[in-house]
């Protein structure tokens, strides 16, 4: 099949990409655009590792045709940080050790960020519900839930207080995450 040049709105940018009609969004992101942050785990919609946001809604890119999402806002894990500043959930994932092998992580970040946007202070049940389409095989989900809870707190503090989420506003997450370092050896 011949390739077709289409515009896609990805992470706030319009990119022109040549796709074949049977290319999924996942194929397009990974193979055509080198946006390899989006992973593939099963290719048939069971695992959630390929999740991206379509107009803010978590969507499996392995079951989405590239040509069918022209005009939609696509957000991949690469687009979650703003101006190089990680999202509060990313900071929390790092601090909580919520990424072990890290392969499912982009999908969880996508689902978690969508949740926090719609519901900045979710209950445990709401967190579990929002993440129930993403499978993790390393963590037993414990630290992932803790990370969403921490991010929720960070966002609320940022909302009520003056500053942006701690760590997210002040540069690299590691600067926030690492304990003060000028101690006696």
């Amino acid at each position: 099949m011949q390739k077709v040049l289409i515009p896609l709105e990805i992470n706030g940018e319009t990119v022109e990409v040549a796709v074949r009609p049977h290319q999924t969004l996942l194929d397009t992101l990974r193979d055509s655009l080198d946006l390899t942050g989006t992973k593939h785990g099963c290719d048939i919609g069971d695992c959630g590792t390929c999740t991206v946001q379509l107009d803010g809604i978590p969507t499996l890119s392995c079951l989405t045709l590239a040509m069918d999402v022209i005009g939609r806002q696509i957000t991949t894990v690469e687009g979650v940080a703003q101006d190089g500043v990680p999202h509060a959930l990313q900071v929390a994932f790092d601090q909580q050790g919520a990424a072990q092998c890290g392969y499912c992580t982009p999908g969880f970040i996508i689902s978690g960020v969508a949740l926090l946007k719609a519901n900045p202070s979710p209950t445990l049940e709401e967190i579990q519900h929002a993440l129930s389409g993403n499978l993790c095989r390393c963590t037993g989900y414990t630290k992932i839930i803790a990370a969403v809870q921490q991010a929720s707190q960070m966002l609320q503090q940022a909302g009520t207080g003056a500053a942006a989420p701690s760590g997210a506003s002040t540069g690299t997450p590691h600067a926030a995450a690492h304990p003060s370092t000028a101690q006696e050896v």
């Binding site: 074949r20 049977h22 048939i44 919609g45 809604i57 079951l63 989405t64 069918d68 519900h129 129930s132």
Partner: protein, 335 residues
């Protein structure tokens, strides 16, 4: 990565455009909406159509409208997620919102559509597998083979109907609008299905489902949908049960419907639900209907879980669902 087979892609912006493509390409074309049922099957090479026609470009199919009679008209490409969240759906048809929220995963609910769920392909352990697997086992009649792997002597395919919204829609008396080359027709949803795993839909060639018409629920209607599954996410139903009861002020049951899911190739009504009529709900009545449902169903090895277990669970799920309604008390108090 598992790739899709090649096809031409079409994204018309009108229903007429869809019909024209279907007429032109006949059985070489398939409709795609959410893609969550069709595309995995295509990756597994269950289908290799030359043309895929997307419904995503048709704005009119994505609407939820309040009908003049107070019911709702739901566009075919309304997503399952939209159903679960829509205030009017929640208010008028809570069992539908609940059923949509029990499908697969929360992500798939954001993609899959109402129309897609209504037309969901029947499923079977031996059918919904990759190409290599099916070749290694020997193909079944639903996909390029000649026999049924579930029951080798069966003359017809036994794949199971598993669409969770349908039993709930049936309880609410849904009607579907079908548009085809020879015009439009409105068909009660209950008449759309037949018990044949390969031809479970009574659609005419070239016909598509455009909307679902839900009449206003009769006063005193209580409905629920209960789904049993192994994992509390991802999984298809082992058993699904929708119940609809209309009771008068005194608590006398005036209408009773029990619809079973995932036990045969179509949603299965339990006629003996009539045993509940004309009296208040009683434990004896509930037990009789549950027993009738148990006797009626013949689940097969279309799942990984033993059929006898699923048969028992039909009885249990029917009983518990009815008990749940009984516990809720009188219709006046019920939500």
């Amino acid at each position: 990565m598992l790739k899709l087979p090649e096809f031409q892609f079409h994204r018309p912006s009108t229903v007429e455009g869809v019909l024209e493509l279907l007429t032109r390409h006949g059985s070489n074309a398939r409709i795609v909406a959410g893609g969550t049922d069709l595309l995995p099957s295509m990756k597994q090479r269950l289908f290799t159509p030359d043309h895929l026609v997307s419904l995503r470009g048709i704005e009119t199919l994505r609407q939820i409208e309040i009908s003049p009679d107070g019911g709702l008209t739901l566009g075919a490409t309304v997503t399952l997620r939209e159903l679960t969240l829509h205030p009017e759906v929640q208010r008028l048809y809570p069992a539908l919102a609940s059923a949509a929220g029990q499908i697969a995963t929360v992500i798939i609910q954001g993609m899959g559509t109402l129309g897609g769920n209504i037309l969901l392909d029947t499923r079977c352990y031996y059918y919904n597998q990759g190409e290599f697997w099916r070749e290694a086992l020997g193909k079944c009649m639903k996909a390029d083979g000649t026999i049924c792997q579930v029951a080798r002597n069966s003359p017809s395919c036994l794949a199971a109907f598993s669409a969770d919204t349908v039993p709930a829609l049936l309880v609410y008396g849904a009607v579907v609008r079908l548009v085809g080359p020879s015009g439009t027709r409105a068909v009660p949803l209950s008449e759309l299905y037949q018990d044949d795993g390969m031809r479970w839909l009574k659609l005419l060639p070239g016909e598509i489902l455009t909307e679902v018409i839900l009449p206003p629920p009769p006063s005193g209607l209580e409905a629920r949908y209960d789904k049993l599954r192994v994992r509390q996410s991802i999984d298809y139903p082992l058993v699904g049960v929708a119940i609809g009861l209309v009771r008068d002020q005194a608590g006398t049951v005036e209408q009773a419907r029990v619809i079973l899911n995932a036990v045969s190739s179509m949603p299965e009504s339990v006629p003996q639900a009539a045993l509940l009529l004309g009296q208040p709900l009683t434990d004896e009545g509930i037990e009789a209907v549950a027993q009738a449902a148990y006797t009626q169903v013949k689940p097969l090895t279309t799942h990984g879980v033993q059929p006898i277990y699923r048969k028992k669970m039909v009885k249990l799920t029917v009983r518990k669902a009815l008990q749940g309604l009984m516990m809720k008390g009188m219709p006046g108090q019920a939500v």
